[in-house]
């Protein structure tokens, strides 16, 4: 107790060269058999950069969004396929295998919002994609790669939750029914049962739009951040009902993104105040404040080995190694 706190950590390294604000980050697990994973970043100017964490240089640059901001990047477990969502109302599917970088497919989106999509890739060839839908408060579920629209999740008329702001598809181990967590503009988080197109539960976590959420399906607990000064932790009970477990007050308002590390031990929240805050996931004890960036931090991502990458409006991506995974 008496020991002075550790000095604030420094980034392990910093990636420069995105040349515009970084809005999306995603670790791609060594698809090409390399030792270290690749890091994908999407920029405001519509470029997707692929960084080698070995050489810390850009390996490839993908230009598929016509200069519009890339908001979401995701790779699929089967094969080196990359999804990139841009504000040009397109979601591109890239084939990255064997050094290729070509758009193999694309989905036209109908929402101009900032909402990022979500995938659920349980099966081998078929996977499910959730994206904001045509109506301002709708979420569209597609079956890929056939691009068939499965359904559109529209809240009841009197609920008026506003636009969906963030989505997360998941599936409980016990049941095959896919579920969707969606954060809405009014600050509420809703759990959808995709098959029955019904809202199972909805809870008001924030008074401002939910900007990011992440869910720990093993402990049935999730966290969300919004434009206000708090992080909310909520949980799901056996009756599929959401309950707010607690809120954690931050120093400055505005959380752009929240991610739980794959080993479910720590949590990182990207702040509009240029800082990334790291918490202990189970106790929500604050662990570190990463003050490196000089502009809003837009996104955070964890690699499977515990590496943390943060992308910011100052055009830099910083990579941190905190509390090694066990």
């Amino acid at each position: 107790m008496a020991a002075p706190p550790l000095p604030p950590p420094d980034p392990q390294f910093v990636l420069r060269g995105a040349q515009s604000a970084v809005h999306a980050l995603h670790f791609c697990e060594g698809a090409q058999g390399q030792g270290r994973p690749l890091l994908l970043s999407g920029s405001l100017r519509g470029l997707v950069h692929i960084w080698s964490l070995q050489t810390r240089r850009v390996v490839a640059t993908l230009d598929g969004h016509g200069g519009q901001c890339v908001t979401w990047l995701q790779t699929l477990p089967q094969g080196p396929q990359l999804l990139s969502q841009g504000r040009d109302l397109k979601l591109c599917v890239w084939d990255l295998a064997e050094g290729r970088n070509a758009v193999v497919d694309s989905v036209l989106l109908e929402s101009v919002g900032f909402c990022r999509g979500s995938v659920l890739a349980g099966g081998l060839q078929r996977w499910m994609l959730a994206v904001p839908g045509r109506g301002s408060d709708e979420v569209q579920i597609l079956e890929m790669p056939s691009k068939t629209s499965v359904c559109s999740l529209k809240p009841e008329a009197q609920a008026r939750p506003g636009m969906p702001m963030c989505l997360q598809l998941w599936q409980a181990d016990s049941s095959p029914r896919p579920l969707l967590l969606a954060g809405y503009e009014d600050g509420s988080v809703a759990l959808w049962d995709v098959s029955s197109r019904k809202v199972c539960s909805r809870v008001a976590c924030h008074t401002e739009p939910v900007m990011g959420l992440d869910f720990d399906s093993q402990e049935a607990r999730g966290v969300s951040g919004s434009a206000e000064k708090t992080l909310a932790v909520w949980s799901l009970d056996e009756q599929q009902a959401l309950q707010v477990r607690g809120t954690h007050v931050l120093t400055n308002p505005g959380i752009a993104d929240v991610k739980i590390r794959p080993d479910r031990r720590i949590l990182a929240a990207a702040g509009w105040d240029h800082r990334v805050r790291v918490f202990h996931w189970r106790t929500m004890k604050p662990l570190a404040v990463l003050a490196f960036h000089s502009a809003t931090v837009h996104c955070v991502a964890f690699a499977a080995d515990g590496l943390l990458a943060t992308g910011s409006g100052d055009q830099r991506i910083s990579v941190w190694s905190l509390y090694p995974c066990t």
């Binding site: 000095p7 031990r265 105040d273 202990h280 404040v289």
Partner: protein
């Protein structure tokens, strides 16, 4: 009686004759054996009268004769050391005082390195080891004090206490370990204790005894500075012995009372030092202070006011002792009054060393902890009067430690003396000293006398259950907390999160003028703060723009008030002001120095001006500054006298000055020192001379020679610093001259802080003005300063002043050493 008397005399005479003439071992042995019966303790011992006569009249004569015979041959007259054994037995078994005196006498008289000396020394060691010293002292205690023995007692006393010195002198390298003072005096302590035991026993048996010889031995040993050795043995044992026995206590009190006045101080100091606490001290000394004037003087005045060497436990024992008995409490009250008076006297504050002031303050706090509320109320007015006077004069002092002492004592004392009034509360930094002093002010439960044990123990025992419950509830919380965190992840140690502060939203101005507007007109405090934070950087980035508004900026900054709680406001403001001054030195310095003597400034602002001038001068004179900021090389506006003219001659002069000036930095030999003209050169005058102009002209709100001595001290330090920074400049000589005049005018100032400033200014003159010029232009001033420095170095009450004066004198010496070889050929 006559025939018997003569019989003893005859025997002794015969024995002496035989001893001196015979070489026959058997015969001598027989003779000595026959004399032995006068010592008693054998089966056919002589009549008591005969024994007494032998002891009184013949014993020492006989012993001297024995000593005279001592030689290697004589001892070998009988085999197996029988002769030596018999010879020694007379010394060890005969009357101890006489044997001791003869031993000492013969050791004194023996030729320096000799067989006899060594033999006698060994015998004396044996004499000590078998406890005969106790017998010597016991003999003196048993004798009814009469007029017949003072001379003998005096001699014995000298010999007993002076034994280690005497033996050390006689034996030199051969000295035995027993006679080392560190061994002998503890032994003496043991022996004194044994005699005391005998005295107590015989008092129990109804026999009268006197301990005054013991008191004298004790006193003399303490005077010799052996308190630690003697009392270190004596006090712990007496502590135990007096615990349950009134008789022992009485004997102990008697022992201390009988100590002669000339030794009282040494003995009492030893007791106070050796006693583990006030209870023990009270048990050992009794009401000594009320009986002996000398003891009272030592305890209530000498150890409190005239000395300050006691450690805190000693002081606590001493004052606790005074507090323990109702008869002594009045003395404690008296002591407190006098202590407060001394503490409050403004002349004492100026003339007494800080250590002693600290000592007196601590003594006051201890006194207060011991005195009860009722007692304090009785003399509330008197105490408060001297306290308040002291607080006032202490807070006026310009030395922070003195002020701090004033604050602590005022807080504690006012709360105790005047509990119903509003509590005084000062802001001071906590450090070792304050914590120690505040701890002293807490009444100590063990320090209370037995009479007050009841009430004082009650609250303590009342408190303990609370504490226990707290303790119990603590661990209860612990397991709960750790239960939930039990499984893992506790090794995640948080990093320092102090950087996580609220973000400022408003944008800082990007131009100097924008900052100026924000600082003057803005009601938007975030913008105001952002402007303040951005200003220093902007000034360095755009010197030209700053020069346009430099004086306005300085004015705004000087008058800036901390309107919102800005962290580090003072530092920010100061740095920014320094930046402005550095950017446009001549005009801003002119403005600032003029404001220093203007009306309507607070002392804080005036001292800020001085600080800023010093820091700016330091920055300007830093070599290599230009290299860092090359854009600053633009020519200064021609407002300065020497600035705009051809720099060629200046370079020449500076080169010359540099060649002939001693360099004090030796560290930078390895790397090339940054070179460049001293920018301070051209503007030093603007910084320096205006500050000297008006110091003796009081304003309505500002009187440097009166109450505002703190600023005067700061001014003296600043002038010294400016002088020092003006090294290698052309203006250094007139500056030095003016500064020495300033120093001369103020040399007898009463405030130590001012004097320190003056002394450092003198040193700065000696360092900065070239030696030749010092000798040529400032000779008279130097001579005057020198005599003053000598005076200060010897007599000043402030330690730092003395030190600074010595340093200045050393500089003068060096200067002379340097000049002498020049002037001699």
């Amino acid at each position: 009686m006559d025939p018997e008397v003569s019989a003893v005399r005859l025997t002794v005479w015969e024995a002496v004759h035989i001893l001196s003439s015979s070489e026959d071992g058997g015969r001598i042995f027989c003779t000595l054996g026959s004399l032995k019966r006068y010592l008693g303790e054998t089966e056919n011992s002589a009549l008591p009268e005969e024994q007494e006569e032998f002891a009184r009249i013949h014993f020492s004569t006989f012993l001297r004769c024995l000593v005279g015979k001592l030689s290697p041959d004589w001892l070998e007259l009988l085999p197996d050391g029988q002769m030596e054994e018999l010879w020694a037995s007379f010394f060890l078994e005969g009357p101890a005082d006489q044997a001791f005196l003869v031993l000492m006498e013969s050791i004194e008289g023996a030729a320096s390195p000799s067989f006899r000396l060594m033999k006698m020394a060994r015998l004396l060691a044996r004499f000590l080891s078998v406890g005969r010293m106790a017998a010597v002292m016991e003999g003196q205690c048993r004798q009814q004090a009469g007029p017949a023995f003072p001379l003998l007692q005096e001699t014995l006393l000298t010999k007993v206490v002076g034994l280690p010195d005497l033996l050390g002198n006689r034996l030199q390298q051969e000295n035995l370990a027993t006679f080392f003072p560190q061994n002998y005096f503890p032994l003496l302590g043991e022996e004194v204790l044994r005699v005391l035991q005998v005295v107590v026993d015989s008092l129990r048996g109804g026999l009268d005894c006197s301990v005054s010889f013991l008191s004298q031995v004790l006193g003399k040993a303490c005077i010799h500075g052996r308190q630690k050795e003697v009392l270190g043995v004596l006090v712990p044992r007496l502590t135990v012995l007096t615990q349950g026995s009134c008789l022992w206590q009485r004997v102990c009190w008697c022992l201390v009372e009988r100590v002669p006045d000339w030794a009282m101080e040494a003995v009492l100091k030893g007791f106070v030092e050796a006693a583990p606490g006030p209870e023990v001290l009270s048990r050992l000394l009794g009401n000594l202070v009320t009986k002996s004037k000398k003891a009272q003087f030592v305890m209530t005045r000498k150890l409190l006011f005239l000395q300050y060497s006691c450690t805190m436990p000693m002081l606590q024992s001493l004052l606790g002792y005074l507090a323990m008995d109702s008869q002594r409490r009045s003395l404690l009250m008296q002591a407190l009054k006098e202590l407060l008076e001394t503490w409050g006297s403004s002349s004492a504050i100026r003339h007494v060393p800080l250590v002693q002031q600290c000592y007196v303050s601590k003594a006051i706090l201890i006194c207060l902890a011991h005195l009860g509320e009722a007692e304090l109320r009785d003399s509330q007015d008197e105490l408060l009067a001297s306290l308040m006077e002291g607080v006032k004069s202490r807070l006026d002092s310009s030395l922070p430690p003195v002020r701090r002492l004033g604050m602590i004592v005022a807080e504690v004392a006012s709360a105790r003396i005047h509990p119903e009034g509003p509590p005084l509360k000062f802001q001071y930094e906590e450090d070792e000293l304050t914590r120690e002093m505040l701890a002293l002010a807490m009444p100590q439960p063990t320090a209370d006398g037995p009479s007050e044990a009841g009430p004082s123990f009650a609250p303590v025992s009342g408190e303990t259950p609370d504490r226990e419950t707290v303790d119990r509830s603590g661990p209860q919380v612990g397991p709960e907390g750790s239960d939930s965190e039990l499984d893992s992840d506790d090794e995640f140690v948080p990093y320092d999160m102090s950087v996580d502060r609220e973000q400022r939203s408003s944008k800082a101005p990007s131009y100097v003028r924008g900052c100026l507007e924000a600082l003057t007109g803005s009601e938007d405090w975030e913008r105001w703060e952002a402007a303040l934070r951005a200003l220093e950087g902007l000034i360095f980035r755009s010197p030209a723009a700053t020069q346009e508004v430099s004086v306005e900026l300085a004015k705004v900054l000087l008058h800036l008030e901390e309107k919102t709680a800005v962290a580090g406001f003072e530092g920010l403001r100061q740095r920014t002001l320094v930046a402005v001054t550095v950017t446009d030195p001549a005009r801003v310095a002119e403005y600032l120095t003029a404001q220093f003597y203007a009306l309507n400034y607070s002392l804080r602002q005036r001292m800020d001006i001085l600080d800023v001038l010093t820091l700016a001068a330091q920055e300007l004179s830093r070599p290599g500054r230009l290299g860092k900021a090359p854009q600053r090389g633009s020519p200064d506006p021609g407002s300065q006298p020497g600035g705009a003219v051809v720099p060629a001659w200046r370079a020449v002069v500076e080169e010359r000055v540099r060649r002939k000036t001693r360099r004090f930095s030796k560290g930078s030999v390895g790397r090339a020192p940054a070179v460049g003209p001293n920018e301070f050169n051209s503007v030093a005058g603007y910084f320096f001379f205006p500050l000297l102009q008006h110091f003796d002209r009081p304003l309505v709100t500002f009187d440097l020679l009166g109450g505002d001595q703190l600023v005067l001290g700061r001014l003296a330090h600043t002038l010294g610093a400016l002088m020092y920074l003006a090294v290698n400049t052309t203006v250094a000589v007139p500056m030095g001259k003016a500064l020495l005049e300033f120093v001369w005018a103020l040399r007898f100032h009463g405030d130590a802080y001012v004097r320190r400033g003056l002394l450092s200014a003198v040193s700065a003159v000696l360092l900065s003005v070239p030696a030749e010029r010092l000798l040529a232009d400032l000779l008279d001033e130097l001579l005057e300063a020198r005599s003053w420095l000598g005076d200060v170095a010897e007599k000043d009450p402030d330690e730092d002043c003395r030190l600074l004066a010595v340093k200045a004198l050393l500089l003068l010496e060096k200067l002379r050493d340097k000049l002498l070889p020049l002037s001699s050929p």
